[in-house]
Point group: C2
Chain length 330, copies 2
């Protein structure tokens, strides 16, 4: 595979392999892409980067897995807003002599995963650098005007619920990093496959939002506890999660040796959502999510601000929820 001598050569190869996105008036190859939003829609915009030796390392994941996880990180933010992914840019920095085949496979897998959720690559950037390779994706979505889900709408009495199984990614990584060199070989195949192609909650979030029951939503890839605190702060509410609501979930068997409370506190790149849901519509939300392939588990409730934020342990005692999410400099 030839080295990309230009941005256009590189992005063109990605784009030719995939369907042209809707609303793309001018795709890659001009100074900027030209896009036509649908009438009556708001835009949502997020950006996430993956850096070599931080978000991926030699031998752990094939490039396709890295690309899919890069897409998932961005898609999860759009899902948390209840929006539809539409258009993306992908910027690459890599040293001269980097493995072009490997980097190209990351980009193509990322583009394919985005396309699978309705988003087209419409531009990019290419720079040579001295350090580790990195990719920065900016993803633009659309949502009906005024209907974006935010972190700030939770109300006292709302049910707190999570999609999927937060903590899985942390478990996979812990198992993989226990090998030298790190390897997914000791990770159960089903979990390893999921890690390399994480679930996407765009459809589930749209379906839940359509019930009218979702008051607030947040992506919890930085950690359930930390992101719950973010949601509570933004909504000016208290909250309590109860570990025994999820501790007996069979999917948590992997965590049996850890206190569920420590699981709940840990950062884990699962790309799942935490939602505050009108309790009267919780079952409707659960059914809508299930129809879209997402298990929805009630893990607690929204309290008044003065009640604070806490976690109720298996011993029935409430403890302050004060843990941090992922700290990029920790």
């Amino acid at each position: 595979m030839p080295e990309p001598r230009s941005e256009l050569e590189r992005i063109g190869a990605i784009v030719r392999a995939l369907p042209r996105g809707e609303g793309v008036i001018v795709g890659p190859g001009d100074d900027a892409a030209v896009l036509r939003p649908a009438d009556g829609m708001d835009l949502v915009v997020t950006t996430d980067a993956f850096v070599e030796n931080v978000h991926w390392c030699d031998g752990l994941l094939p490039p396709e897995g890295i690309g899919r996880r890069l897409a998932a990180a961005n898609l999860s933010d759009i899902a948390a807003m209840g929006a539809l992914p539409r258009w993306a840019t992908i910027a690459r920095a890599a040293p001269d002599g980097a493995d072009e085949t490997f980097l190209r496979a990351i980009e193509l897998a990322c583009a394919e995963a985005l396309a699978g959720q309705g988003a087209a690559i419409v531009g990019g950037n290419l720079v040579a650098c001295e350090g580790p390779a990195s990719f920065t994706v900016t993803l633009i979505g659309e949502v009906e005007r005024g209907a974006a889900l935010t972190r700030s709408g939770a109300r006292e009495g709302d049910a707190l619920a999570v999609t999927g199984t937060p903590g899985r990614a942390a478990a996979v990584l812990a198992l993989a990093l226990a090998s030298l060199p790190p390897s997914l070989a000791r990770v159960p195949p089903e979990l390893a496959a999921w890690y390399a192609a994480p679930t996407c909650r765009v459809r589930a979030a749209r379906a839940m939002a359509a019930t009218g029951g979702v008051h607030a939503a947040i992506d919890i890839s930085d950690g359930l506890s930390g992101d719950l605190l973010h949601l509570a702060d933004a909504s000016d509410v208290g909250a309590r999660i109860e570990v025994d609501l999820f501790a007996n979930d069979p999917q948590f068997a992997l965590f049996a040796s850890k206190a569920p409370n420590s699981w709940a506190q840990g950062p884990s790149d699962d790309y799942e959502l935490l939602l505050a849901i009108d309790p009267a519509r919780f079952e409707a939300c659960r059914a809508a999510a299930a129809a879209a392939g997402a298990p929805l588990t009630r893990i607690g409730e929204v309290l008044s601000r003065s009640a604070g934020q806490m976690v109720r342990g298996v011993d029935g005692k409430d403890r302050p929820l004060s843990v941090r999410g992922y700290d990029h400099y920790a």
Copy 2:
């Protein structure tokens, strides 16, 4: 200045220093920004990255200059589309222990320069990495539906014109890099000041587009010759530029020791535009650009495809225009 422990802390500090942008429904701090485009507008999207030791190096520019140039690189792409800058994200990768004051000053200057052209920072990303620091900006603009300027509209007989003085940035860098360590001290103050705060052609491009005379436009920060070839290819036309049309410009005195042809061929991060203009409206375009602060110089004309692309030297002879623009891996 404290280290940013979170993306929100860092972006919040930038945003609080500047006016909230128009159409920003939800700014930084949620999973994604929520933006409301004006009715009847298309979006334009571009992304550009600056990497330490590639786009900036120790001692050459203060952080404010780096930030303004980062903004200019993105603004120039939006200008080339005839669009208005509206919203931007800024992603940072930097090693632990990097000079936070320096990095923060880059970001703030970038945000200020964007704000000066109507664009607000609405989100970002923060990752720790092992290598050099880098910033990736994605800039979204708006343009009246169907009115974006592209590279593909040039027609035989069009005048070719450039804004400003392409080649200045290359001259500044050549002078600065002749010192060890590199320094702007030997660069004429006016040029050094311009380099640290490059001109922005957004207003001029909008004014020229409003005359109806602009058939095609391209940002020439990768090099006039290479970008002229891009425009000619996209428009399926030939072209001839004539070095004696610009060789006597007093602003080119710095280049006196170089053949004008080699100047014309070189990459130079000037953030200027090359335009193909209806000759009947060239004077209207020149007047509109001048009123918006941009000198517009006619440097050649668009030919039929079969005529090829060439440069006419001071000797009156035509030579093929075959040079490359900036090659990131050269």
